[in-house]
Protein backbone atom coordinates (compact mmCIF):
# COMPACT_ATOMS: atom_id res chain seq x y z
CA UNK A 1 0.00 0.00 0.00
CA UNK A 2 2.71 2.37 1.06
CA UNK A 3 4.68 1.50 -2.05
CA UNK A 4 1.85 2.42 -4.39
CA UNK A 5 1.27 5.64 -2.50
CA UNK A 6 4.90 6.56 -3.00
CA UNK A 7 4.71 5.62 -6.66
CA UNK A 8 1.62 7.64 -7.25
CA UNK A 9 3.03 10.68 -5.47
CA UNK A 10 6.23 10.45 -7.48
CA UNK A 11 4.31 10.22 -10.73
CA UNK A 12 2.09 13.06 -9.58
CA UNK A 13 5.14 15.22 -9.11
CA UNK A 14 6.41 14.30 -12.57
CA UNK A 15 2.99 14.95 -14.02
CA UNK A 16 2.77 18.33 -12.34
CA UNK A 17 6.23 19.25 -13.50
CA UNK A 18 5.41 18.23 -17.07
CA UNK A 19 2.26 20.30 -17.00
CA UNK A 20 4.17 23.22 -15.60
CA UNK A 21 6.88 22.99 -18.22
CA UNK A 22 4.32 22.74 -20.97
CA UNK A 23 2.58 25.82 -19.71
CA UNK A 24 5.88 27.67 -19.69
CA UNK A 25 6.81 26.67 -23.20
CA UNK A 26 3.35 27.42 -24.55
CA UNK A 27 3.37 30.82 -22.87
CA UNK A 28 6.69 31.56 -24.50
CA UNK A 29 5.31 30.48 -27.86
CA UNK A 30 2.33 32.73 -27.56
CA UNK A 31 4.22 35.89 -26.71
CA UNK A 32 7.13 35.39 -29.09
CA UNK A 33 6.74 36.73 -32.58
CA UNK A 34 9.19 34.61 -34.56
CA UNK A 35 7.75 35.93 -37.79
CA UNK A 36 9.05 39.44 -37.16
CA UNK A 37 12.82 38.86 -37.28
CA UNK A 38 12.32 36.42 -40.16
CA UNK A 39 10.33 38.98 -42.15
CA UNK A 40 12.92 41.62 -41.37
CA UNK A 41 15.65 39.31 -42.62
CA UNK A 42 13.72 38.51 -45.82
CA UNK A 43 13.16 42.22 -46.48
CA UNK A 44 16.84 43.00 -45.98
CA UNK A 45 17.80 40.09 -48.24
CA UNK A 46 15.59 41.57 -50.96
CA UNK A 47 16.89 45.11 -50.45
CA UNK A 48 19.69 44.89 -53.07
CA UNK A 49 16.96 44.65 -55.75
CA UNK A 50 16.90 48.44 -55.39
CA UNK A 51 20.18 48.48 -57.29
CA UNK A 52 18.22 47.67 -60.48
CA UNK A 53 16.38 50.97 -60.30
CA UNK A 54 19.14 53.27 -59.08
CA UNK A 55 22.24 53.60 -56.94
CA UNK A 56 21.49 52.81 -53.33
CA UNK A 57 25.02 51.92 -52.26
CA UNK A 58 24.75 54.19 -49.24
CA UNK A 59 21.67 52.36 -47.98
CA UNK A 60 23.39 49.02 -48.52
CA UNK A 61 26.46 50.27 -46.69
CA UNK A 62 24.37 51.37 -43.74
CA UNK A 63 22.61 48.00 -43.52
CA UNK A 64 25.92 46.19 -43.85
CA UNK A 65 27.50 48.37 -41.18
CA UNK A 66 24.55 47.84 -38.87
CA UNK A 67 24.60 44.09 -39.50
CA UNK A 68 28.28 43.96 -38.60
CA UNK A 69 27.58 45.66 -35.30
CA UNK A 70 24.49 43.50 -34.70
CA UNK A 71 26.73 40.44 -34.96
CA UNK A 72 29.49 41.93 -32.82
CA UNK A 73 27.15 43.21 -30.11
CA UNK A 74 25.23 39.92 -30.04
CA UNK A 75 28.53 38.06 -29.78
CA UNK A 76 29.71 40.36 -26.99
CA UNK A 77 26.37 39.79 -25.28
CA UNK A 78 27.18 36.09 -24.79
CA UNK A 79 30.00 37.01 -22.45
CA UNK A 80 28.90 40.45 -21.22
CA UNK A 81 25.17 39.91 -21.06
CA UNK A 82 24.69 36.23 -20.24
CA UNK A 83 27.80 35.60 -18.13
CA UNK A 84 28.06 39.16 -16.77
CA UNK A 85 31.72 39.71 -17.65
CA UNK A 86 31.97 43.16 -19.23
CA UNK A 87 34.85 43.21 -21.70
CA UNK A 88 36.20 46.44 -23.19
CA UNK A 89 38.77 44.54 -25.24
CA UNK A 90 36.65 42.75 -27.83
CA UNK A 91 38.06 44.93 -30.59
CA UNK A 92 41.08 42.60 -30.33
CA UNK A 93 39.07 39.75 -31.83
CA UNK A 94 37.72 42.05 -34.52
CA UNK A 95 41.33 42.82 -35.40
CA UNK A 96 42.50 39.20 -35.15
CA UNK A 97 39.72 38.03 -37.47
CA UNK A 98 40.36 40.84 -39.92
CA UNK A 99 44.10 40.31 -40.05
CA UNK A 100 43.96 36.50 -40.23
CA UNK A 101 41.62 36.41 -43.22
CA UNK A 102 43.16 39.52 -44.70
CA UNK A 103 46.61 37.92 -44.70
CA UNK A 104 45.23 34.81 -46.41
CA UNK A 105 43.64 37.05 -49.03
CA UNK A 106 46.79 39.10 -49.55
CA UNK A 107 49.13 36.09 -49.74
CA UNK A 108 47.05 33.38 -51.39
CA UNK A 109 44.11 35.25 -52.87
CA UNK A 110 41.49 33.30 -50.92
CA UNK A 111 38.41 35.43 -50.33
CA UNK A 112 37.65 36.23 -46.71
CA UNK A 113 34.08 35.14 -47.33
CA UNK A 114 35.41 31.57 -47.40
CA UNK A 115 37.94 31.94 -44.60
CA UNK A 116 35.69 33.93 -42.23
CA UNK A 117 34.65 30.90 -40.14
CA UNK A 118 38.33 29.99 -39.88
CA UNK A 119 39.12 33.53 -38.71
CA UNK A 120 36.35 33.11 -36.16
CA UNK A 121 37.97 29.91 -34.91
CA UNK A 122 41.35 31.61 -34.59
CA UNK A 123 39.74 34.46 -32.66
CA UNK A 124 37.96 31.89 -30.49
CA UNK A 125 41.21 30.06 -29.77
CA UNK A 126 42.85 33.32 -28.70
CA UNK A 127 39.75 34.20 -26.70
CA UNK A 128 39.94 30.82 -24.99
CA UNK A 129 43.61 31.28 -24.08
CA UNK A 130 43.10 34.85 -22.86
CA UNK A 131 39.97 33.83 -20.98
CA UNK A 132 41.86 31.15 -19.08
CA UNK A 133 44.04 33.93 -17.72
CA UNK A 134 41.79 36.98 -17.29
CA UNK A 135 38.55 35.31 -16.22
CA UNK A 136 40.13 34.48 -12.88
CA UNK A 137 39.21 37.96 -11.75
CA UNK A 138 35.78 39.52 -12.11
CA UNK A 139 34.09 42.90 -11.83
CA UNK A 140 36.28 45.99 -12.27
CA UNK A 141 39.50 43.95 -12.40
CA UNK A 142 38.26 42.04 -15.42
CA UNK A 143 37.24 45.23 -17.21
CA UNK A 144 40.68 46.71 -16.61
CA UNK A 145 42.45 43.55 -17.77
CA UNK A 146 40.41 43.63 -20.98
CA UNK A 147 41.55 47.19 -21.66
CA UNK A 148 45.14 46.09 -21.04
CA UNK A 149 44.63 43.26 -23.54
CA UNK A 150 43.58 45.77 -26.19
CA UNK A 151 46.62 47.96 -25.45
CA UNK A 152 48.97 44.98 -25.70
CA UNK A 153 47.41 43.87 -28.99
CA UNK A 154 47.69 47.38 -30.39
CA UNK A 155 51.41 47.58 -29.61
CA UNK A 156 52.04 44.12 -31.07
CA UNK A 157 50.11 44.82 -34.28
CA UNK A 158 51.69 48.26 -34.66
CA UNK A 159 55.16 46.74 -34.53
CA UNK A 160 54.69 43.45 -36.37
CA UNK A 161 56.23 44.09 -39.77
CA UNK A 162 55.04 40.84 -41.31
CA UNK A 163 51.46 42.15 -41.22
CA UNK A 164 52.36 45.68 -42.27
CA UNK A 165 52.89 47.31 -38.87
CA UNK A 166 51.21 50.63 -38.22
CA UNK A 167 50.91 51.32 -41.96
CA UNK A 168 48.67 48.33 -42.40
CA UNK A 169 47.99 46.23 -45.42
CA UNK A 170 46.14 46.90 -48.65
CA UNK A 171 43.84 44.17 -49.91
CA UNK A 172 42.80 43.72 -53.56
CA UNK A 173 39.26 44.93 -54.30
CA UNK A 174 36.93 42.53 -56.15
CA UNK A 175 36.27 42.95 -59.90
CA UNK A 176 32.54 43.58 -59.69
CA UNK A 177 31.11 46.83 -61.01
CA UNK A 178 30.39 49.62 -58.53
CA UNK A 179 26.72 48.75 -58.68
CA UNK A 180 27.26 45.23 -57.38
CA UNK A 181 30.61 45.39 -55.59
CA UNK A 182 29.05 45.54 -52.14
CA UNK A 183 26.73 42.58 -52.59
CA UNK A 184 28.96 39.66 -51.55
CA UNK A 185 29.86 41.42 -48.30
CA UNK A 186 26.29 42.56 -47.81
CA UNK A 187 24.96 39.02 -47.89
CA UNK A 188 27.89 37.64 -45.92
CA UNK A 189 27.42 40.17 -43.14
CA UNK A 190 23.66 39.66 -43.12
CA UNK A 191 24.18 35.91 -42.84
CA UNK A 192 26.72 36.32 -40.03
CA UNK A 193 24.40 38.68 -38.16
CA UNK A 194 21.43 36.32 -38.53
CA UNK A 195 23.56 33.34 -37.53
CA UNK A 196 24.88 35.18 -34.47
CA UNK A 197 21.45 36.27 -33.27
CA UNK A 198 20.11 32.73 -33.82
CA UNK A 199 23.09 31.25 -31.97
CA UNK A 200 22.68 33.69 -29.10
CA UNK A 201 19.05 32.59 -28.84
CA UNK A 202 20.02 28.91 -28.88
CA UNK A 203 22.76 29.49 -26.32
CA UNK A 204 20.51 31.45 -24.00
CA UNK A 205 17.95 28.64 -23.94
CA UNK A 206 20.41 25.80 -23.59
CA UNK A 207 21.72 24.26 -20.40
CA UNK A 208 24.97 26.10 -21.12
CA UNK A 209 23.15 29.44 -21.26
CA UNK A 210 21.31 28.67 -18.05
CA UNK A 211 24.65 27.97 -16.40
CA UNK A 212 26.04 31.29 -17.69
CA UNK A 213 23.07 33.19 -16.33
CA UNK A 214 23.45 31.41 -13.01
CA UNK A 215 27.12 32.31 -12.70
CA UNK A 216 26.42 35.92 -13.62
CA UNK A 217 24.12 36.15 -10.60
CA UNK A 218 26.37 34.42 -8.08
CA UNK A 219 29.45 32.52 -9.12
CA UNK A 220 30.01 30.68 -5.84
CA UNK A 221 26.42 29.47 -5.64
CA UNK A 222 26.57 28.39 -9.27
CA UNK A 223 29.75 26.48 -8.59
CA UNK A 224 28.22 24.71 -5.59
CA UNK A 225 25.20 23.85 -7.71
CA UNK A 226 27.53 21.75 -9.83
CA UNK A 227 28.24 24.14 -12.72
CA UNK A 228 31.80 24.04 -14.02
CA UNK A 229 31.98 27.84 -13.87
CA UNK A 230 35.56 28.05 -15.09
CA UNK A 231 34.88 26.08 -18.25
CA UNK A 232 31.53 27.81 -18.79
CA UNK A 233 32.86 31.33 -18.71
CA UNK A 234 35.98 30.58 -20.74
CA UNK A 235 33.78 28.86 -23.34
CA UNK A 236 31.52 31.92 -23.35
CA UNK A 237 34.57 34.12 -23.95
CA UNK A 238 35.69 31.91 -26.85
CA UNK A 239 32.19 31.85 -28.39
CA UNK A 240 31.78 35.61 -28.22
CA UNK A 241 35.25 36.03 -29.75
CA UNK A 242 34.28 33.64 -32.56
CA UNK A 243 31.43 35.84 -33.81
CA UNK A 244 33.41 39.07 -33.50
CA UNK A 245 36.31 37.44 -35.38
CA UNK A 246 34.06 36.42 -38.29
CA UNK A 247 32.77 39.97 -38.62
CA UNK A 248 36.35 41.27 -38.62
CA UNK A 249 37.29 38.97 -41.49
CA UNK A 250 34.51 40.15 -43.80
CA UNK A 251 34.90 43.77 -42.73
CA UNK A 252 38.58 43.73 -43.69
CA UNK A 253 37.94 42.70 -47.29
CA UNK A 254 35.01 45.09 -47.52
CA UNK A 255 37.23 48.02 -46.50
CA UNK A 256 40.09 46.68 -48.72
CA UNK A 257 42.66 47.66 -46.15
CA UNK A 258 43.73 46.60 -42.68
CA UNK A 259 45.23 48.97 -40.21
CA UNK A 260 45.63 48.73 -36.43
CA UNK A 261 44.09 52.16 -35.91
CA UNK A 262 40.90 51.02 -37.65
CA UNK A 263 40.49 47.62 -36.05
CA UNK A 264 42.11 47.90 -32.65
CA UNK A 265 40.23 50.93 -31.45
CA UNK A 266 38.72 51.19 -28.01
CA UNK A 267 35.80 52.95 -29.69
CA UNK A 268 34.93 49.68 -31.45
CA UNK A 269 34.82 47.86 -28.11
CA UNK A 270 32.92 50.72 -26.55
CA UNK A 271 30.31 50.56 -29.30
CA UNK A 272 29.65 46.87 -28.61
CA UNK A 273 29.20 47.57 -24.90
CA UNK A 274 27.12 50.63 -25.57
CA UNK A 275 24.77 48.82 -27.95
CA UNK A 276 24.15 46.04 -25.46
CA UNK A 277 23.58 48.45 -22.58
CA UNK A 278 21.29 50.68 -24.61
CA UNK A 279 19.29 47.81 -26.06
CA UNK A 280 19.35 45.61 -23.00
CA UNK A 281 22.17 43.40 -21.75
CA UNK A 282 21.36 39.70 -21.74
CA UNK A 283 18.37 39.94 -24.06
CA UNK A 284 18.32 38.70 -27.66
CA UNK A 285 16.68 41.70 -29.28
CA UNK A 286 18.63 44.21 -27.18
CA UNK A 287 21.93 44.22 -29.08
CA UNK A 288 20.07 44.36 -32.40
CA UNK A 289 18.04 47.39 -31.36
CA UNK A 290 21.10 48.96 -29.74
CA UNK A 291 23.12 48.53 -32.94
CA UNK A 292 20.41 50.11 -35.06
CA UNK A 293 20.07 53.03 -32.63
CA UNK A 294 23.81 53.68 -32.36
CA UNK A 295 24.47 53.49 -36.10
CA UNK A 296 21.57 55.85 -36.70
CA UNK A 297 22.85 58.25 -34.03
CA UNK A 298 26.37 58.08 -35.44
CA UNK A 299 25.13 58.91 -38.93
CA UNK A 300 23.13 61.78 -37.50
CA UNK A 301 26.13 63.18 -35.60
CA UNK A 302 28.45 62.81 -38.57
CA UNK A 303 25.92 64.26 -41.00
CA UNK A 304 25.05 67.27 -38.85
CA UNK A 305 28.34 68.01 -37.09
CA UNK A 306 30.99 66.12 -39.00
CA UNK A 307 33.91 66.07 -36.58
CA UNK A 308 34.93 62.76 -35.08
CA UNK A 309 35.59 64.42 -31.71
CA UNK A 310 31.93 65.31 -31.46
CA UNK A 311 31.19 61.70 -32.29
CA UNK A 312 33.28 60.48 -29.34
CA UNK A 313 31.64 63.06 -27.09
CA UNK A 314 28.18 61.99 -28.27
CA UNK A 315 28.94 58.29 -27.79
CA UNK A 316 30.11 58.95 -24.24
CA UNK A 317 27.10 61.11 -23.49
CA UNK A 318 24.60 58.53 -24.78
CA UNK A 319 26.40 55.83 -22.80
CA UNK A 320 26.30 57.84 -19.56
CA UNK A 321 22.64 58.75 -19.96
CA UNK A 322 21.74 55.15 -20.78
CA UNK A 323 23.65 53.85 -17.75
CA UNK A 324 22.14 56.33 -15.32
CA UNK A 325 18.53 56.30 -16.43
CA UNK A 326 18.04 52.94 -18.17
CA UNK A 327 20.53 50.48 -16.69
CA UNK A 328 18.41 47.60 -18.00
CA UNK A 329 18.34 48.97 -21.53
CA UNK A 330 15.36 49.55 -23.78
CA UNK A 331 14.22 45.93 -23.99
CA UNK A 332 14.93 45.24 -20.33
CA UNK A 333 13.12 48.34 -19.08
CA UNK A 334 10.08 47.71 -21.26
CA UNK A 335 9.99 44.04 -20.30
CA UNK A 336 10.14 44.85 -16.61
CA UNK A 337 7.15 47.18 -16.83
CA UNK A 338 5.37 44.60 -19.00
CA UNK A 339 5.11 46.92 -21.98
CA UNK A 340 7.49 45.19 -24.36
CA UNK A 341 5.80 44.98 -27.75
CA UNK A 342 5.39 41.41 -28.94
CA UNK A 343 7.49 41.96 -32.04
CA UNK A 344 10.51 42.81 -29.86
CA UNK A 345 10.22 39.79 -27.60
CA UNK A 346 12.80 37.47 -29.17
CA UNK A 347 13.82 35.73 -25.98
Amino acid sequence: MAVTLQDSSASAVIEARRAHNEKLSRKADQTRATWFPLTLLALLAALPLLQFVGNYNYVLHLVLFTASYVAMASGWNILGGFAGYVSLGHAVFFGVGGYFSGMLLARYGISTLITAPLAGLVAAAIGYAVGLVTLKVRGPSFIISSIALLMIARILFDNWHFIGGANGLTLPPNDLSVQWAKLPYYYAMLAIAAFTVWSAYKIKHSKFGLGLRALSKDEIKAESAGIDTRFYKVAAFALSAFFVGMVGAVWGEYLTYLRPNIFLLILVSANMVLMCILGGKGTIAGPVIGAILIVALNELFVATMGASEINILGTGLVMAIGLIFFPLGLVGTLARSGRLPRILNWD
Partner: protein, 292 residues
Protein backbone atom coordinates in the same frame (compact mmCIF):
# COMPACT_ATOMS: atom_id res chain seq x y z
CA UNK B 1 77.78 51.02 -14.08
CA UNK B 2 77.23 54.64 -15.08
CA UNK B 3 74.64 53.45 -17.58
CA UNK B 4 72.71 51.52 -14.94
CA UNK B 5 72.80 54.52 -12.59
CA UNK B 6 71.64 56.75 -15.40
CA UNK B 7 68.67 54.53 -16.24
CA UNK B 8 67.83 54.21 -12.55
CA UNK B 9 67.73 57.98 -12.08
CA UNK B 10 65.59 58.55 -15.16
CA UNK B 11 63.23 55.78 -14.06
CA UNK B 12 62.90 57.12 -10.53
CA UNK B 13 62.25 60.72 -11.64
CA UNK B 14 59.55 59.56 -14.03
CA UNK B 15 58.23 57.18 -11.38
CA UNK B 16 57.57 60.12 -9.07
CA UNK B 17 55.34 61.78 -11.65
CA UNK B 18 53.55 58.50 -12.37
CA UNK B 19 53.01 58.04 -8.64
CA UNK B 20 51.25 61.40 -8.47
CA UNK B 21 49.16 60.50 -11.53
CA UNK B 22 48.11 57.26 -9.84
CA UNK B 23 47.59 58.52 -6.29
CA UNK B 24 44.30 60.27 -7.07
CA UNK B 25 43.04 57.11 -8.74
CA UNK B 26 44.00 55.09 -5.68
CA UNK B 27 42.40 57.52 -3.22
CA UNK B 28 39.12 57.62 -5.11
CA UNK B 29 38.99 53.84 -5.27
CA UNK B 30 39.84 53.50 -1.60
CA UNK B 31 37.14 55.80 -0.32
CA UNK B 32 34.38 55.26 -2.86
CA UNK B 33 35.13 52.00 -4.63
CA UNK B 34 35.05 53.90 -7.93
CA UNK B 35 37.54 52.66 -10.52
CA UNK B 36 37.89 55.97 -12.28
CA UNK B 37 38.80 55.21 -15.89
CA UNK B 38 38.36 58.93 -16.62
CA UNK B 39 41.26 59.83 -14.33
CA UNK B 40 43.93 60.10 -17.08
CA UNK B 41 41.50 62.05 -19.27
CA UNK B 42 41.11 64.52 -16.40
CA UNK B 43 44.90 64.67 -16.03
CA UNK B 44 45.00 65.73 -19.66
CA UNK B 45 42.35 68.32 -18.79
CA UNK B 46 44.73 69.72 -16.17
CA UNK B 47 47.55 69.64 -18.69
CA UNK B 48 45.52 71.74 -21.15
CA UNK B 49 44.74 74.32 -18.44
CA UNK B 50 48.47 74.63 -17.80
CA UNK B 51 49.24 74.69 -21.51
CA UNK B 52 46.80 77.54 -22.13
CA UNK B 53 48.25 79.58 -19.27
CA UNK B 54 51.76 78.94 -20.54
CA UNK B 55 50.98 79.86 -24.16
CA UNK B 56 48.87 82.96 -23.50
CA UNK B 57 50.33 84.45 -20.29
CA UNK B 58 53.68 82.68 -20.17
CA UNK B 59 52.99 81.35 -16.66
CA UNK B 60 55.37 78.66 -15.43
CA UNK B 61 53.75 75.19 -15.38
CA UNK B 62 54.80 74.49 -11.79
CA UNK B 63 53.40 77.84 -10.66
CA UNK B 64 50.20 76.92 -12.46
CA UNK B 65 49.91 73.67 -10.51
CA UNK B 66 47.72 74.93 -7.62
CA UNK B 67 45.35 76.63 -10.05
CA UNK B 68 44.98 73.48 -12.16
CA UNK B 69 44.47 71.42 -9.00
CA UNK B 70 41.73 73.67 -7.62
CA UNK B 71 40.02 73.96 -11.01
CA UNK B 72 39.96 70.20 -11.49
CA UNK B 73 38.81 69.66 -7.89
CA UNK B 74 35.81 71.88 -8.66
CA UNK B 75 35.18 69.78 -11.77
CA UNK B 76 35.39 66.74 -9.52
CA UNK B 77 32.66 68.01 -7.19
CA UNK B 78 30.35 68.67 -10.13
CA UNK B 79 31.05 65.24 -11.65
CA UNK B 80 30.42 63.51 -8.34
CA UNK B 81 27.08 65.25 -7.86
CA UNK B 82 26.02 64.59 -11.44
CA UNK B 83 27.19 61.04 -11.98
CA UNK B 84 28.06 59.06 -8.89
CA UNK B 85 25.85 60.19 -6.04
CA UNK B 86 22.72 58.46 -7.26
CA UNK B 87 24.59 55.30 -8.19
CA UNK B 88 25.79 54.64 -4.64
CA UNK B 89 22.81 52.44 -3.84
CA UNK B 90 22.82 50.29 -6.97
CA UNK B 91 23.68 46.63 -6.52
CA UNK B 92 26.36 46.41 -9.19
CA UNK B 93 27.80 49.74 -8.08
CA UNK B 94 31.45 48.96 -8.72
CA UNK B 95 30.96 47.56 -12.21
CA UNK B 96 28.45 50.28 -13.02
CA UNK B 97 30.85 53.06 -12.09
CA UNK B 98 33.59 51.56 -14.27
CA UNK B 99 31.33 51.84 -17.30
CA UNK B 100 30.16 55.27 -16.21
CA UNK B 101 33.70 56.58 -15.85
CA UNK B 102 34.52 54.99 -19.21
CA UNK B 103 31.70 57.04 -20.73
CA UNK B 104 33.04 60.08 -18.88
CA UNK B 105 36.52 59.48 -20.30
CA UNK B 106 35.06 59.48 -23.80
CA UNK B 107 33.17 62.68 -23.11
CA UNK B 108 36.27 64.44 -21.78
CA UNK B 109 38.30 63.21 -24.74
CA UNK B 110 35.67 64.38 -27.21
CA UNK B 111 35.35 67.75 -25.51
CA UNK B 112 39.10 68.36 -25.38
CA UNK B 113 39.45 67.12 -28.97
CA UNK B 114 36.77 69.55 -30.09
CA UNK B 115 38.37 72.45 -28.22
CA UNK B 116 42.07 71.88 -28.80
CA UNK B 117 42.26 69.46 -31.79
CA UNK B 118 44.30 66.26 -31.70
CA UNK B 119 47.70 67.92 -32.22
CA UNK B 120 50.49 66.83 -29.85
CA UNK B 121 51.15 69.57 -27.30
CA UNK B 122 53.84 70.16 -24.72
CA UNK B 123 54.71 73.15 -22.55
CA UNK B 124 58.33 74.18 -22.82
CA UNK B 125 59.68 76.10 -19.83
CA UNK B 126 63.48 76.56 -19.84
CA UNK B 127 64.14 73.71 -17.45
CA UNK B 128 62.20 71.20 -19.56
CA UNK B 129 65.17 70.80 -21.90
CA UNK B 130 68.04 71.50 -19.46
CA UNK B 131 69.97 69.00 -17.35
CA UNK B 132 72.39 68.68 -14.43
CA UNK B 133 75.58 66.71 -14.96
CA UNK B 134 77.22 64.66 -12.21
CA UNK B 135 80.21 62.99 -13.80
CA UNK B 136 78.92 60.93 -16.71
CA UNK B 137 75.38 60.88 -15.38
CA UNK B 138 72.93 63.53 -16.50
CA UNK B 139 69.71 64.40 -14.70
CA UNK B 140 67.11 66.21 -16.83
CA UNK B 141 65.91 69.19 -14.82
CA UNK B 142 62.30 68.98 -15.95
CA UNK B 143 61.85 65.38 -14.90
CA UNK B 144 63.75 65.94 -11.67
CA UNK B 145 61.61 68.93 -10.66
CA UNK B 146 58.43 67.14 -11.65
CA UNK B 147 59.42 64.04 -9.69
CA UNK B 148 60.36 66.05 -6.60
CA UNK B 149 57.19 68.18 -6.68
CA UNK B 150 55.15 64.99 -7.10
CA UNK B 151 56.74 63.30 -4.13
CA UNK B 152 56.30 66.48 -2.05
CA UNK B 153 52.59 66.58 -2.88
CA UNK B 154 52.20 62.90 -2.05
CA UNK B 155 54.06 63.41 1.23
CA UNK B 156 51.73 66.31 2.10
CA UNK B 157 48.74 64.14 1.21
CA UNK B 158 49.98 61.31 3.40
CA UNK B 159 50.53 63.67 6.35
CA UNK B 160 47.06 65.10 5.82
CA UNK B 161 45.53 61.62 5.76
CA UNK B 162 47.53 60.53 8.77
CA UNK B 163 47.23 63.43 11.19
CA UNK B 164 44.30 65.71 10.35
CA UNK B 165 40.75 65.08 11.53
CA UNK B 166 39.45 64.99 7.98
CA UNK B 167 42.25 62.59 7.16
CA UNK B 168 41.08 60.30 9.96
CA UNK B 169 37.57 60.46 8.59
CA UNK B 170 38.75 59.63 5.07
CA UNK B 171 40.77 56.67 6.28
CA UNK B 172 37.90 55.46 8.44
CA UNK B 173 35.59 55.60 5.43
CA UNK B 174 38.16 53.69 3.37
CA UNK B 175 38.34 50.92 5.96
CA UNK B 176 34.67 50.52 6.70
CA UNK B 177 32.03 52.81 5.34
CA UNK B 178 29.19 51.74 7.61
CA UNK B 179 31.22 51.70 10.80
CA UNK B 180 32.51 55.18 9.99
CA UNK B 181 28.97 56.41 9.49
CA UNK B 182 27.94 54.86 12.83
CA UNK B 183 30.74 56.73 14.55
CA UNK B 184 29.45 60.03 13.27
CA UNK B 185 31.49 60.56 10.11
CA UNK B 186 29.52 62.39 7.44
CA UNK B 187 30.23 59.78 4.78
CA UNK B 188 28.51 61.75 2.01
CA UNK B 189 30.68 64.79 2.65
CA UNK B 190 33.82 62.67 2.98
CA UNK B 191 33.05 61.01 -0.36
CA UNK B 192 32.69 64.34 -2.13
CA UNK B 193 35.83 65.61 -0.43
CA UNK B 194 37.89 62.56 -1.34
CA UNK B 195 36.62 62.63 -4.92
CA UNK B 196 37.48 66.33 -5.18
CA UNK B 197 40.97 65.71 -3.77
CA UNK B 198 41.43 62.80 -6.17
CA UNK B 199 40.46 64.84 -9.22
CA UNK B 200 42.46 67.78 -7.85
CA UNK B 201 45.48 65.49 -7.79
CA UNK B 202 44.73 64.70 -11.43
CA UNK B 203 44.84 68.43 -12.18
CA UNK B 204 48.12 68.83 -10.29
CA UNK B 205 49.59 65.85 -12.14
CA UNK B 206 48.39 67.43 -15.38
CA UNK B 207 50.52 70.53 -14.76
CA UNK B 208 53.64 68.41 -14.28
CA UNK B 209 52.81 66.04 -17.12
CA UNK B 210 52.47 69.01 -19.49
CA UNK B 211 56.26 69.41 -19.70
CA UNK B 212 57.31 65.82 -19.06
CA UNK B 213 55.25 64.10 -21.75
CA UNK B 214 53.70 65.41 -24.93
CA UNK B 215 49.95 65.04 -24.79
CA UNK B 216 46.82 65.08 -26.93
CA UNK B 217 43.18 64.25 -26.01
CA UNK B 218 43.29 60.57 -27.01
CA UNK B 219 46.54 59.95 -25.13
CA UNK B 220 44.70 58.94 -21.95
CA UNK B 221 44.00 55.42 -23.26
CA UNK B 222 47.73 54.76 -23.10
CA UNK B 223 47.88 56.08 -19.57
CA UNK B 224 44.90 54.31 -18.08
CA UNK B 225 46.40 50.85 -18.37
CA UNK B 226 49.75 52.21 -17.18
CA UNK B 227 48.21 53.86 -14.09
CA UNK B 228 46.00 50.87 -13.42
CA UNK B 229 48.98 48.55 -13.38
CA UNK B 230 50.77 50.91 -10.97
CA UNK B 231 47.77 51.16 -8.66
CA UNK B 232 46.95 47.46 -8.85
CA UNK B 233 50.55 46.52 -8.14
CA UNK B 234 50.62 48.72 -5.05
CA UNK B 235 47.18 47.61 -3.94
CA UNK B 236 44.04 49.59 -4.79
CA UNK B 237 43.42 52.26 -2.17
CA UNK B 238 46.92 52.37 -0.70
CA UNK B 239 48.80 55.61 -1.45
CA UNK B 240 52.11 54.18 -0.24
CA UNK B 241 51.53 51.15 -2.45
CA UNK B 242 50.91 53.41 -5.43
CA UNK B 243 54.21 55.21 -4.90
CA UNK B 244 56.14 51.96 -4.54
CA UNK B 245 54.35 50.42 -7.52
CA UNK B 246 55.04 53.49 -9.66
CA UNK B 247 58.73 53.57 -8.79
CA UNK B 248 59.21 49.83 -9.39
CA UNK B 249 57.38 49.71 -12.71
CA UNK B 250 58.86 52.95 -13.95
CA UNK B 251 62.41 51.73 -13.28
CA UNK B 252 61.68 48.36 -14.91
CA UNK B 253 60.16 50.17 -17.90
CA UNK B 254 63.23 52.40 -18.15
CA UNK B 255 65.52 49.35 -18.28
CA UNK B 256 63.31 47.61 -20.83
CA UNK B 257 63.17 50.79 -22.88
CA UNK B 258 66.93 51.19 -23.00
CA UNK B 259 68.01 47.62 -23.44
CA UNK B 260 65.20 46.13 -25.54
CA UNK B 261 63.52 49.07 -27.28
CA UNK B 262 61.38 52.09 -26.49
CA UNK B 263 58.20 50.47 -27.88
CA UNK B 264 58.39 47.66 -25.39
CA UNK B 265 58.75 49.87 -22.33
CA UNK B 266 55.00 50.69 -22.41
CA UNK B 267 54.32 47.00 -22.84
CA UNK B 268 56.00 46.41 -19.46
CA UNK B 269 53.11 48.12 -17.67
CA UNK B 270 50.39 46.19 -19.51
CA UNK B 271 52.06 42.83 -19.04
CA UNK B 272 52.71 43.65 -15.39
CA UNK B 273 49.00 44.38 -14.95
CA UNK B 274 48.13 40.95 -16.32
CA UNK B 275 50.64 39.18 -14.13
CA UNK B 276 49.67 41.04 -10.95
CA UNK B 277 45.96 40.40 -11.46
CA UNK B 278 46.75 36.72 -11.78
CA UNK B 279 49.32 36.21 -9.09
CA UNK B 280 48.28 38.63 -6.41
CA UNK B 281 45.05 40.52 -7.24
CA UNK B 282 45.18 42.51 -4.00
CA UNK B 283 48.61 43.94 -4.88
CA UNK B 284 51.61 44.54 -2.65
CA UNK B 285 49.95 46.62 0.05
CA UNK B 286 46.30 45.73 -0.45
CA UNK B 287 44.67 44.15 2.57
CA UNK B 288 42.16 41.80 1.05
CA UNK B 289 41.28 40.80 -2.50
CA UNK B 290 38.42 43.28 -2.63
CA UNK B 291 38.20 43.31 -6.39
CA UNK B 292 38.77 39.65 -7.18
Amino acid sequence: MAEILQILILGLALGGVIALMGSGLSLVFGVMRIVNLAHPALIIGGAYITYLAFKTFDIDPIAMLPVAAVAMAAVGVVLYRLLFQREAKSAKYSEMTVLLTFALAMMVEGLLGGLFTNTQRVTSPDYATAAFFIGDVFIPKGQLYAGLVSLAIIAALSLFLKYSRLGYAIRATTQNREAAELLGVNVQFISVLAFAIGIGLAGAAGSLVSFVFSFFPAKHWEWIAMLMSVVVLGGMGSILGTVVGALILSVVAAFVGTWIGATWSTLTFFLALFIILLVRPQGLFGEKPEMA
